[in-house]
């Protein structure tokens, strides 16, 4: 029963207009980043061709320096890593609130039970949110590869933003493609947990838009508090903001333990909060 319910939920999550809209917006932002990189690469190539005195190395505009998850400078990169909680929530974050409002929830739980309904809903929201964030990031890596030269980054380059203490930093300098693919997986997890923040909020708001904005508002407020804590306290060597931890190269180090502890905390809070709201609460 659980598997059938999950299949139905996944079909609903991936075959709705909102999922495609989110993917479209994410891809457009991703393409903005590629366009800016293309301009930069053309300009740099012209400079390298015309000058005989400077190094001909393309490291400064290598694919793995200009990738959306790493560069942190282009409009595309800053925009994508600012609005990713919204992009994650758009595909299916609204479903619990909508089904509750329309009465479809009561129909389903009378057939499969609340627990099965919640588990299938949670995973469908998680997977659709993760896909909405990770697909544009992966697409950006692949499309950027058509524009930017492939060049393994070196530690000594000033343009490479990943240093000692960053998650998978050794892999970035030895096998950047594997690093890129693994980072898409990390972004999938971030997208998933952000989308699931809509579940506990689903019973609190009247309007779909307010439910969809819960992850964004929560993460942006956390980001502001973390920025203050990092500047006032002596924690500026660690990136604490979950909003920026989705970037492969945030301003401060993002060690694996910090990344996965925060992911774990978010997962627990959204899962338990959602379970409380959907399963334990009386139907209202």
């Amino acid at each position: 029963m659980m598997l059938r319910c999950l299949k139905t939920e996944l079909r609903k999550a991936f075959q709705n207009k909102m999922f495609f809209c989110s993917l479209l917006v994410g891809s457009l932002i991703s393409i903005t980043d590629v366009a800016q990189n293309a301009v930069l690469v053309r300009r740099m190539t012209r400079i390298l061709e015309n000058s005989s005195e400077i190094s001909k190395s393309a490291e400064g505009f290598s694919l793995f320096v200009r990738w959306i998850a790493v560069n942190g400078v282009t409009l595309g990169s800053n925009l994508f890593y600012f609005v990713w909680p919204i992009l994650a929530a758009i595909p299916y974050g609204w479903s619990w609130a909508e089904e509750r409002k329309s009465g479809l929830y009561a129909q389903i739980v009378s057939r499969v039970g609340r627990r099965t309904y919640f588990f299938s809903k949670y995973w469908a929201v998680f997977i659709s949110g993760g896909a909405a964030v990770s697909v544009p990031v992966l697409a950006n890596l692949l499309i950027n590869a058509l524009v930017c030269p492939y060049c393994v980054p070196t530690v000594l380059m000033a343009a490479t933003p990943i240093t000692n203490g960053y998650f998978l930093s050794e892999l970035y300098y030895s096998a950047p493609w594997i690093f890129g693919l693994l980072w898409c997986g990390v972004d999938f997890l971030w997208g998933g947990v952000a989308a699931c923040m809509c579940l506990p909020a689903g019973t609190r708001f009247r309007h779909q838009v307010m439910v969809l904005l819960v992850p964004f508002v929560s993460l942006i407020l956390l980001d502001a508090v973390c920025s203050m804590a990092m500047s006032i306290g002596s924690l500026d060597h660690l990136e604490l903001s979950p909003l920026r931890l989705a970037l492969a190269a945030p301003a401060s180090a993002n060690p694996g333990w910090l990344l996965f502890s925060l992911l774990g905390i978010f997962f627990s809070v959204t899962f338990l909060g959602g379970y409380w709201e959907v399963v334990k609460h009386e139907l209202n």
Partner: protein, 275 residues
């Protein structure tokens, strides 16, 4: 039911809501940072100094020239986006509750929409009032000057020397710290409300964010967010955005949104309007 009655209803129901309590903490974040900067420099900021820091913004990020990490104006964005977020759902809520009844009884859709526009402008005004009150609280608690006088030393510290030791006349300080940001935010908020008539509100909110982020990168006066960034004003730096055209542009957008919105609302299907 005439327009004033509708406006009164909207102001009664939509202006003072519990979520307004979110504004002081939002405004306190840049004020705290401002306090820290002025404290470390050994000077005190006046009310105008706090307000100018809240709506300072940053210089345009140039992608071509820098390979380094850009300093993102997160607190400025939070302050502006906070206003857009708080005023996103009231018209929708009203339309799905009593709005349809009111429209039927008043017999005039255009007035209903215009009342929402006036509500939006007033709600933005209240938002800025609350930000100003938070800044006043900081000024009083830190023993600063509760005035529009901007100390040149504090201004130089806060604006990272961009002002070149200029002292600002009180009216200029008022213009940069309150009037221009208010007009800019009101214009974006009304644009968001108008766009809600043709697309889902979440995408209208996204468009607002994209506009603000575009202004972080380009200092063209045509991009709306520039008016809300004091550091880009021609009153402070040479070659900056002139306040006159920026204010005119905002007023034009406000008027256009009111006109186009009420025209579109007259022709839209409100029975199917839920989200």
């Amino acid at each position: 039911m005439n327009l004033t009655k509708l406006i009164r209803h909207d102001l009664q129901c939509g202006l003072f809501r519990l979520r307004c309590l979110l504004v002081p903490p939002l405004a306190a974040l840049p004020c705290l940072l401002c306090l820290r900067i002025t404290d470390s420099a050994g000077c005190k900021s006046s009310w105008a100094g706090y307000m100018m820091y809240c709506f300072m913004g940053i210089e345009p990020i140039s992608v071509q020239d820098t390979m380094e990490k850009a300093q993102f104006p997160i607190l400025w964005l939070i302050l502006i986006i906070g206003c857009l977020y708080l005023h996103l759902d009231y018209p929708l809520n009203d339309l799905s509750l009593t709005g349809q009844q009111i429209i039927v009884r008043s017999g005039n859709r255009r007035n209903w929409y215009l009342a929402k526009c006036v509500w939006n402008l007033c709600a933005c005004g209240l938002y800025f009032l609350m930000v100003s009150l938070t800044a006043s609280l900081f000024t009083v608690l830190t023993g600063g000057d509760l005035s529009l006088n901007c100390d040149a030393a504090a201004l130089k510290v806060l604006y990272l020397g961009e002002t070149g030791g200029k002292t600002l006349p009180p009216l200029t300080a008022l213009l940069l710290s309150l009037i221009l940001p208010y007009l800019t935010v009101s214009a974006i908020s009304l644009l968001q409300m108008t766009l809600c008539l043709i697309m889902k509100p979440i995408f209208c909110f996204l468009i607002g964010i994209i506009l603000l982020l575009l202004s972080v990168y380009w200092d063209s006066p045509l991009i709306l967010g520039n008016g809300a960034m004091g550091i880009r004003s021609s009153l402070l730096i040479s070659g900056g955005v002139a306040p006159g055209p920026a204010a005119e542009e905002c007023c034009l957008i406000i008027i256009l949104c009111m006109a186009i919105g009420s025209w579109m609302f007259k022709r839209s299907d409100i029975l199917g309007a839920r989200d």
